[in-house]
């Protein structure tokens, strides 16, 4: 390996980071050889993001040392890390939405200042953008850009300082399949330009597609690597990530979870409980030719029909931004309907508000876990009890101690890891935060569960937990509407899959799923 022969581009030795009582990384030592694409994988809470933040100077470790190209890097200083050529692209983009691309570039360069005009800025950054194959106009605003381009700009921003080491934290989480391809092309191009890239990833398929080496972390500790990807099998890598402690899952599940299988080879593993109930019963949810008024929050729905039976998981596939969010808002009663009706079990609820719809058993796991699903600065018990508190008089007497006790009971049943239910929801890891939402939304009265991207950003174990929760809800007769841009997820657990394009339903598929046909429907290629 080249590792022995050259100075590592980035090495950290015996790095330990603690957040209060939680140890995020314990004595981590890794070396990354220069001019390669390295992947760092692991479950949520494995310490991947913390590692990235230490390397970029955002977090000062308690112990340990970082060296860049053999030179020690003072820890805990972003300017020093940037001066040494280390740049981090965050999972959630950090560019100011109202800036133009050129302004964002100038903002990101380490030597700002001076007087400039819009034209001189555009001129200055045009060639930089062209080198990275970003075709957008430097004068367009960040907020108007599609997400793939935004990410491209984010990467370009990180490279304005001639950085030699680029760390990308879960760059694929927000991208569509074609966006991921574009990203990987970009990363390969960077490699050829002599940039060492460290990718923090979730999916084994993506790791094997782009990385030269892979490093596995688990529970804040180094498990293996950097291992050369050419000598690696997806199954053994999956075992390294998950460890031996977890329960053995169905073969199909593990492949879908780690993205290890070739997509064409997907077989259905979700066993239908019963044959679809006789159509004489009214569907649990029926959306009849609903159209919505255009608003700022997303493309409107246009004449969409959806029907969901009890005991069924209906997957909604589609490239992001094709009306999935509006669909969820329409079901919640938050969208402005121009035409059409929404029925729950045959009863028209088009005019009912969300409180009434929830009373009838509607539960929603919203798209944005941290803003729509939880109040991060509020306590766990407040977050958990809010759904029930809203059913009934606002002035009724409540006993917080009692609510905390039943919150404790419920959360431990849902396997949430926490200290005290008075801690803030923001202190939970992503997986535990999602479990908290599940604990609130999948209660005994739940009948229709709308799950919007429930597995996004979660690790393998937590995603499996979410799927199991949805499956068992289905098995006891709930209807589940699962919106996801992850086809692996949809194929694995949906009984049917509906494809959305531009606010319309453009096709319905059942197992065995034809990836080609669904992919064509998602992009409108079949029209």
């Amino acid at each position: 390996m080249t590792r022995q022969s050259s100075v590592p581009a980035l090495s950290c030795s015996a790095v330990t980071v603690r957040y209060g009582p939680v140890t995020a990384i314990a004595g981590l030592s890794i070396e990354f050889a220069p001019d390669l694409i390295h992947a760092v994988v692991g479950q949520n809470g494995a310490g991947k993001t913390t590692f990235a933040r230490v390397a970029a100077g955002l977090v000062r470790p308690e112990h340990g040392q970082i060296t860049v190209n053999g030179r020690p890097l003072p820890t805990g200083s972003v300017p020093k890390a940037r001066a040494a050529g280390v740049e981090l692209v965050h999972q959630s983009f950090a560019l100011p939405p109202s800036f133009t691309i050129a302004e964002a570039m100038e903002f990101g360069s380490t030597r700002p200042g001076g007087i400039f005009s819009a034209r001189s800025l555009a001129r200055r950054w045009k060639s930089h953008l062209r080198d990275l194959d970003i075709s957008a106009d430097p004068n367009s605003r960040i907020r108007d850009l599609p997400i793939e381009i935004q990410q491209g700009v984010e990467i370009a921003r990180a490279l304005v300082t001639e950085s030699k080491l680029l760390i990308l934290d879960e760059p694929t989480a927000v991208l569509s399949p074609s966006g991921i391809e574009l990203l990987f092309d970009r990363i390969r191009r960077l490699k050829s330009m002599g940039v060492t890239v460290v990718l923090i990833l979730h999916k084994i398929r993506e790791v094997l597609a782009v990385a030269d080496t892979v490093t596995v972390l688990r529970g804040g500790k180094h498990v293996a690597g950097p291992l050369p990807c050419t000598e690696l099998e997806s199954a053994s890598l999956a075992r390294l990530i998950i460890g031996d402690g977890t329960t053995v899952r169905e073969g199909g599940d593990i492949k879908a979870l780690t993205g290890a299988g070739a997509p064409e080879s997907f077989e259905r593993t979700a066993v239908p409980v019963t044959e679809t109930p006789a159509r004489t019963t009214a569907p649990l949810l029926e959306i009849r030719t609903v159209s919505t008024a255009p608003d700022s929050e997303g493309p409107p729905l246009s004449q969409i029909d959806v029907s969901l039976q009890p005991g069924e998981i209906l997957g909604v596939a589609g490239v992001e931004g094709n009306g999935q969010r509006t669909l969820v808002r329409a079901i919640a009663g938050h969208a402005d309907l121009i035409s059409g009706t929404i029925l729950f079990s045959g009863a028209d609820v088009t005019r009912e508000n969300l409180t009434e719809r929830r009373r009838q058993g509607l539960r929603i796991i919203p798209f944005e876990r941290n803003t729509e699903g939880l109040s991060l600065t509020s306590s766990l018990w407040e977050n958990w009890s809010s759904g029930a508190l809203l059913q009934g008089s606002l002035l009724r007497y409540v006993r917080p101690a009692q609510m905390r006790a039943s919150c404790d009971t419920t959360l431990s049943r849902w396997d949430v890891l926490y200290h005290d239910c008075r801690q803030s929801a923001g202190s939970l890891s992503g997986g535990n935060a999602q479990k908290l939402i599940l604990a609130r939304e999948i209660d005994d009265e739940a009948r229709l569960i709308v799950a919007a991207q429930p597995g996004r950003g979660l690790d393998v174990g937590a995603t499996a937990f979410v799927w199991d929760a949805l499956r068992s809800a289905r098995d006891r007769g709930c209807g589940v509407l699962l919106i996801s841009s992850d086809l692996d997820e949809l194929f694995d657990i949906s009984d049917r899959v509906l494809v959305m394009l531009s606010g319309r339903s453009v096709g319905e598929y059942s197992a065995p799923y034809d990836l080609q046909a669904i992919g064509a429907a998602m992009t409108g290629a079949n029209q």
Binding site: R358, G373, S386, R396
Partner: protein, 346 residues
């Protein structure tokens, strides 16, 4: 609980810093800091009658501050307590004027209701502007303070003018003594009971009602509550109206109690001190009660300072301003200090 303890400790550290800073200022301007602090303590708590004096200022402050705290919790930054306080006192004064001659048992409750309604009204229009068109309530409530001050000048030098006034300050006619709820000392069973009932009701509302929990959530993340079917604006507006009503109630107490009349520009810092109290208490009801007594003590000491050490009463304003400065400044430093303390204690 530990979170609450930390926030109380944090506030104490801020107050301590502010006192240190002010001591340095007093010392460098030629006064003995020790002597100043000593006479503040004496004027606030140690002198005979000092406790009653501190209560006189602290009780109305508490009523206003607890309202401010409730609007802060729900995510509305109501800085119009001063204006709501004035409008409340004006409404009560008008009510008393209209009902003159009726028995006290009717007039006093009617004035309380009028005062609270007046204060609530002065919170209603900024609240509606915020909901309807997103107008920042910080701007509207602040402007509301100026409007209320001008309105106070108008009614005290116009419709409610006391013709026998000395002319130094425009005032309303004095309230008939049978309608007064306290003498000029300002501590009476009615006022103490009003403060206690308000405190208890607000504590129950915040800590023992569905409304309290949900309004707290709405203040921290309105979007999340919306996805559960709540009408965030209802929770927010209700809290905002309560806040205005309580400031109006405090105005009524001042009018019917210690002052016995309303005068243009009376108690010009009341609403702002109440905001400070809500911030120091980190919007907790019990914390607000404690902080109100402390700031009531400072207000009482303000009258004592000129006599004892020859400092102008506005020296207390410097202390208040210094506390505000530290409370609103970034608290990272103090947080680190407290964390170090915690680690030392295990």
């Amino acid at each position: 609980m530990s979170g609450q303890l930390t926030s109380v400790l944090r506030s104490l550290v801020f107050v301590l810093f502010a006192l240190l800073l002010c001591s340095a200022i007093f010392q460098t301007s030629g006064f003995s800091a020790v002597q100043v602090l000593n006479s503040i303590a004496e004027g606030a708590f140690l002198r005979p009658n000092a406790a009653a004096q501190s209560l006189r200022w602290g009780l109305p402050l508490f009523i206003t501050a607890v309202g401010v705290a409730i609007s802060f919790r729900a995510g509305y930054f109501n800085i119009g307590a001063q204006g709501q306080f004035y409008i409340g006192s004006i409404a009560a004064a008008i009510c008393a004027e209209v009902l003159t001659g009726a028995p006290a048992i009717i007039v006093i409750p009617a004035c309380f209701i009028a005062g609270m309604a007046g204060g609530a009204f002065w919170a209603l229009w900024p609240g509606l502007l915020r909901i309807r068109s997103g107008t920042d309530e910080v701007i509207t409530t602040l402007m509301g303070n100026f409007l209320a001050s001008l309105l106070l000048i108008y009614v005290t030098s116009g419709p409610l003018k006391d013709p026998s006034g000395s002319g130094q300050q425009a005032s309303s006619r004095p309230l008939d003594s049978s309608y007064r709820i306290s003498d000029s000392l300002g501590v009476s069973p009615v006022i103490v009971t009003t403060a206690l009932v308000t405190g208890l009701a607000m504590w129950l509302l915040v800590n023992r009602s569905a409304f309290g929990v949900l309004a707290g959530l709405a203040g921290r993340n309105g979007q999340m509550i919306r996805w559960l079917g709540a009408k965030q604006w209802q929770l927010g507006l209700a809290s905002f109206l309560i806040s205005g009503a309580l400031a109006g109630l405090a105005g009524t107490l001042e009018f019917m109690g210690p002052n016995g009349r309303i005068s243009s520009g009376f108690l010009p810092a009341h609403g702002f001190t109440a905001i400070l109290i809500a911030l120091v208490a980190n919007t907790s009801v019990i914390g607000t009660a404690v902080a109100s007594l402390f700031f009531g003590g400072l207000a009482s000491a303000a009258l004592y300072l000129p006599i004892m050490v020859g400092l102008p009463a506005s020296a207390i304003d410097i202390i208040n301003a210094a506390i505000a400065l530290f409370i609103t400044a970034k608290s990272a430093f103090v947080d680190r200090l407290l964390r170090v303390g915690r680690r030392d204690h295990g």
